[in-house]
């Protein structure tokens, strides 16, 4: 199997606070990794390091064989392979849904507006909101906005998708419409790293579960083992707390 992401002995500090503490994680092409853990455990930071939204201070990160360095070329090369979906959607409010999708392809990939529009409409169909193409994001529901954000990311045809708590800012009734889209994507074979607290979803799509706390990877394993017989006390406690209700 080809390696997709290779994280080796990565550490990161915010001032005196050690956000990542010697983290190593390797994922292969097509693999779906779900990361969970209490807030402040470093899971978002880890995902954000993969496409250089945060800069790691120790260790190495390789994405599809390219090492992340200070060189702009390595950063832009990696960003062109990796798509990202944020908790807060981060859609561009001054642009229509369609323009949100085509901005990257036209400006960064140099596609013509016509080709970009064609690509965008296909993806809007896939996330099931082609009828919203000419609306501004502010007029959509949270669930619709997040689906647009996923489509915007896919418009760049990434090989890997990162999801940073994609449903945490959503009203409960909208969570499933977004998760359904992600599950579809997973079934099509997309390589992904997902930070989430949606354990039902994790059980369904994850090839591997990762539990983080205090900047470290505490436990890692197949979903079945992970949920049914967690090895560490901390992981057991965490799962109990979030699975209780």
């Amino acid at each position: 199997m080809t390696t997709a992401i290779e994280i080796k002995n990565v550490s990161k500090w915010f001032g005196d606070f050690k956000a990542l503490d010697d983290v190593s994680l390797t994922t292969s092409q097509g693999e779906k990794v779900v990361i969970c853990g209490p807030s402040g455990s470093g899971k978002s930071t880890l995902v954000r390091c993969i496409n250089r939204l945060e800069i790691h201070q120790k260790g190495t990160i390789k994405v599809r064989g390219i090492e992340l360095t200070d060189h702009d070329s390595s950063i832009s090369e990696i960003r062109s392979e990796v798509g990202m979906v944020f908790q807060q959607f981060n859609l561009f409010p001054h642009l229509t849904v369609l323009q949100n999708l085509t901005l990257g392809p036209t400006k960064a990939l140099g596609l013509s507006q016509k080709d970009a529009n064609e690509r965008a409409f296909k993806l809007l169909e896939r996330v099931r909101i082609p009828e919203q193409a000419n609306k501004k994001p502010g007029h959509l529901s949270g669930g619709q906005q997040q689906r647009v954000a996923i489509a915007r990311s896919l418009c760049m045809e990434p090989k890997i998708m990162l999801f940073d708590e994609p449903t945490s800012a959503l009203d409960p009734e909208m969570i499933s419409e977004v998760l359904d889209v992600i599950v579809d994507l997973a079934n099509e074979g997309m390589t992904m790293v997902v930070v989430t607290h949606e354990m039902g979803f994790a059980r369904k799509v994850a090839d591997r579960m990762v539990f983080m706390d205090e900047g470290k990877i505490i436990e890692m394993g197949k979903p079945k083992d992970f949920f049914d017989s967690p090895k560490t006390e901390r992981c057991k406690l965490f799962l109990n707390q979030i699975l209780q209700h």
Partner: protein
């Protein structure tokens, strides 16, 4: 409401001078029905053209200069940030009048010593001074507007492969402009008022013309009252425009 009240007060002061009581007011000096008064009024009003030209040009250069100063001022690199931060701190600390004297009387000396024979006339001296003095404030307006855009916008732009220039051009500035334009237009009022200082280096604008009429007629009260009205009208027009702009931008503001 407050503004209309203010206009009313001024109008009352003005009308009180029109009563036939012998006293402080002598409106004959700007009474357009007499030949002398008519000439004075036309002379005073003709200052508008210079004041407006001066202000518009100064504002134009200040808007460009401000952006040029503001952008490196927001860099994460200390050495890129430093010159622009120093410029802003320095220019904000220098009062307008000394700066105008320095540019009008001092700068030609430096230019000459460098072998450049560039004369600085009152008009361009004033435009340059006003533009530089104002640019420190416009730079801060840009910075406030740009920094008010949530950092998630920049991150999202980066993840879809935009360069930092493209991010600024297509994502940040179009959103920030709505927050920048109203205070920028407000800053224009400041320029209009400060343009009065150009009178001291011989620019024939509103202030200078009023001074000249005062010297020849010795009627400071009436002439300066008239002068204040001239500025008032100019500023009221601008602030109405600003308000229209704010409404237009506000109604277009979209959520999320």
């Amino acid at each position: 409401m407050k503004k209309h009240f203010l206009i009313l007060v001024f109008l009352l002061i003005f009308l009180s001078g029109c009563s036939s009581q012998p006293g402080a007011w002598g409106w004959y000096v700007i009474d357009p029905t007499t030949k002398g008064g008519y000439n004075n009024v036309m002379f005073l009003l003709s200052g508008f053209s210079a004041t407006i030209q001066l202000s518009l040009l100064a504002a134009f250069f200040s808007i460009i200069l401000g952006l040029v100063v503001a952008l490196p001022g927001m860099s994460s690199n200390y050495w890129v940030r430093l010159p622009s931060r120093t410029y802003i701190e320095f220019i904000r600390a220098v009062p307008l009048l000394p700066m105008m004297f320095w540019i009008f009387y001092g700068l030609p000396v430096i230019l000459k010593s460098m072998g450049l024979n560039i004369p600085i006339d009152p008009f361009w001296g004033a435009v340059v001074t006003l533009a530089i003095s104002d640019s420190a404030f416009t730079a801060e307006i840009y910075r406030a507007g740009i920094q008010s855009i949530h950092k998630g916008q920049r991150e999202a732009a980066q993840t879809i492969g935009l360069t930092s220039f493209q991010t600024m051009r297509y994502v940040i500035l179009p959103q920030a402009i709505k927050r920048i334009l109203p205070p920028l237009a407000n800053q224009f009022i400041y320029i209009v008022k400060m343009s009065a200082f150009a009178s001291v280096i011989g620019m024939q604008e509103l202030m200078r013309r009023a001074n000249e009429v005062v010297v020849s007629e010795y009627r400071p009260l009436e002439v300066y009252t008239f002068l204040i009205f001239e500025y008032l009208i100019l500023v009221l027009i601008i602030s109405q425009a600003v308000r229209w702009l704010e409404r237009k931008m506000g109604s277009d503001e979209s959520r999320g």
